[in-house]
Every structure is written in C-alpha cells, then in structure tokens.
Chain length 311, copies 2
C-alpha cells in the first residue's frame, strides 16, 4: 500500500446565511504559478463567487447558482476547464462535466465543442431521458440551444506549450485541476456542479471523477443531505467513491462535514497514493473544504467578506 | 415523486463454503420469453456459474472467477451482453463493462470491437494508469492482446428485429438486461464484474450504471466489505449511487446484505420510478440477491445444488 502523501487539511466554514455557496478552482501540488496566472485565478474566483451569490440573493435555485459560478470559471483561461483547459495526448481539449440537483443528475464526458460543458451536463439532466453521455454528438448542441465553438477556441498558447514539454518529458503531467461549486438556495435545496479538461496528456477517452455521480459530484436534499464537488487525481476518487462516501459518513455516522471530508480523503485517496480536495455544503448551510494537497484553489464567504485562496 | 413500482423481493443465500460466487443475467419486467430464449438463459446460467466455481475451486482469484463467469454469458446470445446484446439507435452494439478487485477498478463504455468487454475493462485495471475509458480506440485491443471482432459479430437476428419493432413503436424498449458476477476467493478477496449492451435503442454514447464504480459495480475488501453487481434502469442506479449506498448501509449501519440491498432499491430506485436488482457478496461468504422487478435472472449454490432462476 502506498504511503499517504499528505495529512489532511480542512476548513470548517461558519454558517452566515440560509443560502450560500462555496467554489473551487482545483487542488494539487502546484510548484510554480506565474504572476499573470495568479491574477487570473484570483479574479476568476471573485467573479465566479459573485455570479453564484447574485443568483442566490435574487431567489434563484442552487442549480442556477452553481452553473453561473462554473460558467465564469469556464470563460477564464486560468482554470483547467472550458477555455484554457488541458490538452489530451492528441492536443485536443476534451471536457467532462456534471451537475446534480433535487436527486437528479446530468453529465457529459469527452465534450469537444460546447462552449460551456457545465450547461451541456445540465441539458442532459433537463432535456434527456439519460443522465450520462460519453462523446456526445455535436447535433445535440443545436437541438438543445447550446453555444457551439471550434475546439481551437479552448486551446491557449500556455496549454499547448505545456503539452509539448510534457510529451518531451521536460515536465510532469499534474493530475489536478477541475473547477466546481456547491450551493444551497432559499428553498433549502442543494446543488453541485463540476467541470474539467481532465488530466493533461490523457489518452483519448480517459474519464476522471468529475462526471461520475458519487465520485466527483454529488447532491442530495433532506436532513443529512450534502452537495459535493471534488478535484484531484480522478482515478482514486472513482475507486474510493469519494463524494458518496462523504455523504455516507455524514448521514450514517453523523460526522461533521469537515471530518467526513478529511477522513474520506485520507482513507480512500491518500491510501491509494493520490491527493486532491473536496468542497461540501450541508443541508443547513454549514459548509466545509478538505484537501490533502498543498493547494486548494477556492472561495467562500466569511464574516469579513469573500475569502479567496490559492494555497 | 413517482410511486414505487414494486415492493422489494430478496433472497438471503446461506454460506456453504469459504469461497463462492453469485451471478445474474439481468432483471426486468419480462412479459414474454420464447422457449428457445429460456433454454439459452438456463444453459448460460449453469455454464457461467460452473466456469466461475471451477476457478475458485482451483485456487484462482475472485477476479479470475467473475471474469470467467461473465465471459461465458458474453458468448451466449440469450443475455444482453457480448454477442446478442441490444442495439443502439444506430443499430450498432456498444458495450459497457467494469470490474473491481482489491480496491482497484477498470471500466469501458462504448466498446464496439472487443469480443469480451469484461476483459477490456480488466485490461484497463491491469494495464493502464486510468480506470475508465469511454469509446476506447481499437488500437488498445492489439496493444493489450485482446480478441477483436467486427461489430456485426455481436448482432443477432432477434435483436435486429426487436430494434425495428421498437423504432416503429410496435414495442417498448425495456431498460433492463445486464450480466454480472460477484465472488469471494480462498484468500478472502472480493471481486465484482458487470457487462452489458445497455438500453435498447439508446442514443449513441449513453452510459448506464454498469461501468460506473459505486453505481452498478463495486468491491471492497475488509471486515465489512461487499462486492456488488447491479442490473436495471441504469439512470436511477447512477443517481442513487446504488452499489456504494448498499456498501455504506452494510458498513455503517450494520445491516444484513439482503436488507441493505432491498432498502436501497426501495429508497433510491423505487422512489425514482425505476426497477432492477443487485447481487451482493459479503466478506464472510454470505451472499444475497435483491430485486424490485418481476424477474431477476440469477444463479447461486444452495445445499441441494446450483439454483438457477429466470423469475
């Protein structure tokens, strides 16, 4: 059994309002971050959080809020999702995304032309009898009134350069980077959304945990329900059924959110040699973030304003 | 909330040996079954069970046993997997399969040329850094020494006729039919395998619960570990994280296997208007099957020999 990489770090987030959200922009062991990238990430977190909170303040649903927050990050080149996502081994951007709300879910993997993969996942929930589509045909974008762009739109110079370095073995592909949001609305409903370009230099068709309900994304209403979005080394999150394991510890063991998140990361991800993080929203508006990597890019509201962190 | 379709039915299977297996050939509300199909299913169950048991008797691993059993059913035209699987809306057979053993998993969805999709899933576990590949390229079959066949090999006259009737609205596509096996070996390790053609007339790329770890397939070792393979209306099994929910009820609530299976089907599948079944193997060799459909095609060993059932 591989050694645990890092001991869990977690944050209990106080309940300040009956409706709130929590977002993340990826977890990992980041070794270098340019000033430009850092600026992009801080701006992205602030704008995404504000977009989600505005929906909730206006009485919108938790699903509307998490989609609004994730859409902002999908437009921001700093995050590994939407525009600026990592490239696969064929230098193509393949997006995975999922949403869950009121017991129902929608997910896509291998999306290549939807400008907002999270809205593609939402359309699977709302407009299809299915819940998970792999390599969905582009014809669905028109059928479901979703914005279509060329795959090149997503490719940034920085990611293209990074792929060359990884393929020339000058750099290591970091298995991190995913964005997500969890929220509770005025009606007490929970929602989660996750969106990613997946692992850099991945084989065509590799699916990580993001679009897997119960692994990278989860939301259940009710007294012990939680909403979860995960980020990290997806393979271990799938094998540990991380999001649903956290739900089970909260529901059946009565654990606080942060303890359930930290224990699950340690038992299911750390013991497999992996790392990453999760954001968790409880059915009473209490929230938590837990990670076992050096970085957990995230944002939440505190008494003194919106807290944004890259480390 | 839709009404529960049927009340749960379940079977507690006595522990007779330290190593054993349990297989299923699909669950559903079957309205007609030709004598020829019935004969194929009974023969398939008997041969598949014998193949798996032979592996365990010879000291083989639980993973070898579940793969052996599923391979037999993949060759048998009576089941919705391998040869004889349902056709998608484009009249192509797209297989989904997964395996899990010793905390690690492998899965494929949209496989179109692997003669044995379950062995493709196993190769993802054993030969790839990934755990889930969607629409995996055929080049992997050669790279991993797996037998490749034309997609036509899988297409039977009966399934082609059935698709025409469904597309002409003369018949209803039944969202059932999947095969699976769970086993415990002499070393006390648990394994699960699931293989399917998925929902008849499905959209290209639709993924059901079979290849989703924690939904249709699961195995965890240890004192409260269980191995699970599910069959039924996949969308609801994904949204309910059915396999992992059963694991959680066994581990954290101390429920007997049959009660955990029946309760989960009722709470997570029935309330969503769905139906299906699960087979469950416990870490002590105790097993159970649970279903909320009229039929649960399955086989297990009893004191008087191997029990096979279509109803």
């Amino acid at each position: 059994m591989p050694a645990t990489i890092l001991i869990g770090v977690f944050a209990e987030i106080p309940k300040l309002r009956p409706y709130t959200l929590l977002i993340h922009g990826g977890a990992g062991n980041i070794t270098e971050l340019s000033a430009e990238r850092e600026r992009l990430l801080y701006t992205g977190l602030e704008e995404a959080f504000a977009a989600g909170e505005k929906v909730l303040e206006g009485g919108g649903s938790a699903l509307d809020a998490v989609c609004a927050a994730v859409c902002v990050m999908e437009e921001n080149e700093g995050f590994n999702c939407g525009r600026g996502a990592t490239l696969n081994a064929d230098a193509v951007v393949e997006h995975d995304a999922a949403v869950m709300f009121e017991g129902h879910s929608g997910a896509v993997c291998g999306s290549t032309h939807a400008r907002h993969p999270v809205l593609f996942a939402r359309a699977v929930l709302e407009r299809s009898p299915h819940v998970f589509l792999a390599m969905p045909p582009d014809s669905l974008l028109e059928e479901w009134d979703l914005e279509r762009v060329a795959n090149d739109y997503f490719v940034t110079a920085e990611r293209a350069e990074q792929l060359k370095r990884v393929q020339a073995a000058e750099a290591i592909a970091e298995p991190h980077g995913t964005v997500g949001a969890v929220a509770i609305d005025r009606n007490g409903h929970l929602a989660a959304a996750t969106s990613t370009g997946g692992m850099e230099n991945k084989k065509h068709g590799r699916v990580g945990d993001s679009p897997i309900i119960g692994a990278g994304t989860w939301a259940a209403d009710g007294p012990h329900g939680v909403a979860i979005s995960a980020t990290g080394w997806g393979e271990m999150f799938i094998e540990g059924a991380v999001a649903h394991e956290i739900q089970a510890r909260v529901r059946y063991l009565g654990q606080p959110l942060a303890a359930a998140g930290e224990g699950t990361l340690s038992d299911e991800v750390g013991t497999r040699g992996g790392y990453g993080g999760v954001i968790i929203m409880g059915s009473d508006g209490q929230a938590a973030a837990a990670w076992n990597s050096t970085h957990m890019i995230s944002a939440w509201r505190t008494e003194s304003g919106v807290h944004t962190q890259l480390a």
